[in-house]
């Protein structure tokens, strides 16, 4: 290749790098006066990893703690779609939702400021059901039997409270504490139904009952299938319900569900308990839209809409259940007080959110829109890095990088003088090329990557050192400058290629088996190897050629 083409190639590479790195408009989530907003900012298009940008990394797995999941791979694929839909609507820039291996979903949310909320949105099952409350007094009919069971196995069951670790381990405790709607009041009901029923019942005096072990814990509520349980009795009741004998004696075709929140009656906190028809009249499957809204009378609400089929089904079912109470059950938790069905309901309805704010409503609408998770997910790994720590890491990394460059430049120019300067010029191009490669391939710069990059500044000159030492040897053998340069490059080449390929192979292995930040390190290493091959061999060679062509009769070389 003639000198002219070499120069053209180098200029071309510099231009290409410049284009790859040129600041451009990027749509990004930035912190505004009222929280995070989307904004268009102009910046260098170099992606930063989560550990430098701050954000949240989640690895989710199928949760089998509450029973085996039949088709795990299939369930995970469906869950992936649901999680992706939810995250896409959640509003972070450049989120990542991907499958890792065949049993894990990776979610990366850069710049997230409320990790708790993000986690809820991802993990919420969002399985919506509409179930009619029991009006056949089914529970009352089996109460004597339940009391008898509790009495006979009283000692063991009583020991089954969570206070006793070993016993609690034997009986799977229900998991109300993991529920996502444990806080505020959340009364919800279809819009068309009677408004009369919504908030008037809290005044009912709950007379203490003196019946047997089980029945003394519960008190009849105002509507069919509604009961009250004192908050303090909840652990005991839950341990009773987890007893297999009790479970077997419960009325068939019915399920017991608790309300989502506690309410205060006569100075004591009570939870509502409902006995519901096990078969839902409709599920959230047919739901096509849900959006948050505020209503002057009811506060925050979520309006939802069924598709035609769902609307038809809902209308049919509700018309058969007029004067019945309908519980809206989300993730096995009854939302608010079941409203009475006054007339057939069509395809639209609403859920009132009680005291919860608009963001909670919009999050609920979001998960309802995205559909329910086919299987519960548990968090296998979570990393969360504050944005300030990331920025701090960048600043420190840049400081270290600048100092490394100064030191390396010092060593090279003092030792090799003019030739050292050539390698320093090549080093500048090396930094440029590496950055451009990372930007061009859209690879993210992570903290270990940044460290690897600083380190590679020291290692990048190795090829030049090898070449220069070789040229010195050739010169000391009495060769002319021109021959010495040629021979130096030629002989140093095998060592450079072999050592770089060996390093690249290690980096490739690291890429394959590394995760997150370490993978970023491997990418930076690979980009660095490629860039250093170009800069220290091709570029420095060209510099020498320029210099030799300008001083044709040179006898000495400053090296």
């Amino acid at each position: 290749m003639t000198l002219k083409y070499r120069i053209l190639v180098i200029i071309g590479l510099i231009i290409a790098s410049g284009v790859a790195l040129f600041p451009r408009n990027v749509k990004e989530r930035v912190k505004g006066p009222n929280g995070f907003v989307y904004d268009t900012v102009r910046r260098v298009p170099l992606k930063r990893g989560l550990d430098l940008k701050g954000g949240m990394h989640l690895a989710l797995e199928v949760d089998e703690s509450k029973g085996p999941v039949a088709n795990k791979a299939d369930a995970l694929d469906k869950a992936l779609t649901v999680v992706r839909t939810r995250i896409d609507q959640f509003g972070v820039s450049e989120p990542v939702v991907q499958k890792s291996g065949d049993d894990r979903i990776i979610v990366e949310l850069p710049g997230i400021d409320d990790p708790q909320r993000a986690q809820e949105v991802v993990q919420k099952s969002a399985f919506l059901q509409f179930q009619i409350t029991d009006k056949t007094q089914a529970l009352e009919k089996v109460l004597p039997r339940l009391d008898a069971i509790v009495k006979t196995s009283g000692t063991t069951v009583a020991a089954n409270t969570p206070a006793n670790g070993t016993a609690a381990a034997q009986a799977p405790t229900p998991a109300p504490s993991t529920d996502l709607f444990t806080t505020d009041t959340a009364a919800k009901r279809p819009a068309d139904s009677a408004k009369t029923d919504s908030a008037k019942t809290d005044t009912a005096a709950v007379a203490p009952s003196t019946a047997g072990g089980f029945s003394k814990l519960i008190q009849q509520g105002q509507m069919p299938g509604e009961y009250f349980v004192a908050d303090s009795d909840m652990p005991t009741l839950e341990s009773y319900l987890s007893n297999p004998a009790v479970q077997a004696a419960l009325p068939p075709g019915k399920v017991i569900r608790f309300g989502s929140d506690s309410s205060q009656l006569a100075n004591r906190l009570y939870r509502t308990m409902y006995v519901l028809d096990a078969k839902p009249i409709i599920t959230g499957e047919n739901l096509v839209d849900a959006k948050p809204n505020t209503s002057p009378t009811e506060g925050t609400i979520v309006e939802f809409q069924f598709n035609n089929e769902g609307g038809r089904k809902f209308r049919n079912e509700t018309s058969r259940h007029i004067k019945d109470y309908m519980a809206i059950v989300l993730d096995d938790r009854v939302m608010g007080r079941p409203p009475i069905i006054q007339s057939a309901i069509g395809s639209r309805g609403q859920i009132t959110m009680g005291g919860r704010n608009l963001q909670a409503a919009s999050d609920l609408a979001l998960v309802l829109r995205a559909g329910s998770l086919p299987t519960p997910l548990k968090i296998a790994e979570i990393r969360q890095i504050g944005a300030s720590l990331g920025q701090d890491s960048i600043n420190k990394g840049i400081t270290a990088g600048i100092i490394a460059i100064v030191l390396v430049v010092g060593i090279m120019t003092i030792y090799y003088r003019f030739s050292g300067l050539l390698s320093v010029a090549a080093l500048v191009l090396y930094v440029l090329f590496t950055m451009a490669t990372l930007a061009g391939f859209g690879a993210a710069l992570t903290l270990p990557g940044l460290a690897g990059f600083v380190l590679s500044i020291g290692i990048a000159v190795d090829a030049n050192v090898l070449i220069f030492e070789r040229i010195r040897e050739e010169l000391s053998h009495g060769k002319t400058v021109r021959t010495a340069v040629d021979e130096g490059f030629k002989h140093a080449m095998t060592a450079i290629v072999d050592s770089n390929v060996a390093t690249a192979l290690t980096a490739a292995v690291l890429y394959q088996y590394g995760t997150g930040p370490v993978r970023g390190f491997a990418v930076t290493l690979l980009a660095g190897i490629a860039a250093s091959m170009v800069s220290s061999i091709f570029v420095v060679r060209t510099f020498y050629m320029i210099w030799l062509s300008r001083s044709r009769n040179t006898q000495t070389l400053s090296i």
Binding site: I411, I459, L505, V509
Partner: protein, 330 residues
């Protein structure tokens, strides 16, 4: 021109027994400490559990912090100062928390955050980083790290066997294994936290040390092709001497970059920088004193019949090697 250790003729290999003694002593010291305390300071990435980095508005005493956590029932947490006395890392194993709540790996972090907020008041403490890893993920990451290390051995060994010859490849591989073992001893002695980043550093050390070995072996390969009438012992010494200026220069620049990282790049990257700094020394050492003597030993066990290259200069190959056997054993 400025020259360091140029045209030297030091008989490096002669001191190999001393070298073996030194490195063996170091390894025994490092690995021997396992007998006293068999625990490697693995990060939660490998063990599973919860790690939090918290920053306080005012300096906080470790004892007081531990007291606060103990009082809230978070016992057995490992608390370490992180840089200044306003920043700490708290590590808790999930298993220790299992009794109370089984809500998963993330709940421990929430618990700690709540306790700290209660104890020190809101706004006084800030969680800058938190990680929680389930035990299964920890197992997998550990497995992947081991696979990565073994695979990188294998891949580079195969490459060297192709580019050089199996004797060289084996010698380089043993030198690399030596580096890994001494680095583990170093990690143990320094009680550094072994995280994924440190594993990446170890792999970088492997690559760096391999570089060094390759540079020397490349010289040996070249000198053998020249067909000088000298033993492999002499060729090896000559190659080490010839590449000495390069070694010193490259180690100097790499060390400069590593020191910059060690001093200026902050606490998170410090274990990485420590491993790298150590790796520069152990890599240099092993290229000369592990790879070299091992190559001589292999040559003695399995003397080569024909030269490395099937090229022109193999005529005198058999006799130098045989002589090398003699000199190497003296």
């Amino acid at each position: 021109m400025l020259r360091i250790l140029h045209d030297t003729n030091i008989d490096f290999i002669r001191w190999w027994k001393w070298a073996v003694g030194i490195t063996a002593a170091f390894i025994v010291l490092g690995l021997g400490s396992f007998l006293i305390n068999p625990r490697i300071n693995f990060s939660i990435e490998f063990t599973g559990g919860t790690m939090m980095q918290v920053e306080f508005a005012k300096p906080v005493d470790v004892g007081a912090l531990r007291g606060a956590l103990d009082k809230a029932g978070i016992t057995g947490a490992e608390i370490q100062q992180f840089g200044t006395n306003r920043e700490y890392t708290i590590r808790a194993q999930e298993a220790e928390q299992r009794g109370a709540a089984t809500t998963g790996a993330e709940s421990v972090a929430k618990g700690i955050e709540r306790v700290l907020n209660e104890q020190y008041g809101p706004g006084q403490v800030r969680v800058v980083r938190s990680e929680a890893v389930g035990p299964r993920v920890g197992d997998e990451l550990r497995r992947d790290a081991v696979i990565a290390m073994l695979l990188s051995f294998l891949v580079t060994a195969v490459y060297l066997a192709i580019r050089f010859e199996w004797r060289f490849s084996l010698a380089a591989l043993l030198a690399t294994m030596h580096d890994v073992i001494t680095t583990i001893a170093f990690l143990k002695i320094m009680h550094l936290e072994v995280s994924l980043t440190v594993v990446a550093a170890i792999l970088t050390v492997i690559g760096y040390s391999l570089n060094d070995t390759i540079i020397i072996f490349d010289r040996v390969r070249e000198d053998l092709r020249k067909g000088r009438k000298e033993s492999l012992y002499q060729t090896l010494n000559r190659a080490i001497n010839e590449t000495l200026p390069r070694s010193i220069l490259t180690h100097a620049t790499t060390l400069a970059a590593t020191l910059a990282l060690l001093i200026f790049a902050g606490e998170v990257i410090r274990p990485f920088a420590w491993v790298m700094a150590f790796g520069i020394f152990t890599g240099t050492f092993s290229s000369i004193y592990v790879a070299g003597p091992t190559l001589l030993w292999i040559e003695r066990q399995w003397p080569r019949k024909i030269g490395i290259s099937k090229g022109t200069s193999t005529a005198t190959r058999t006799s130098p090697t045989r002589r090398s056997t003699a000199t190497a054993t003296r």
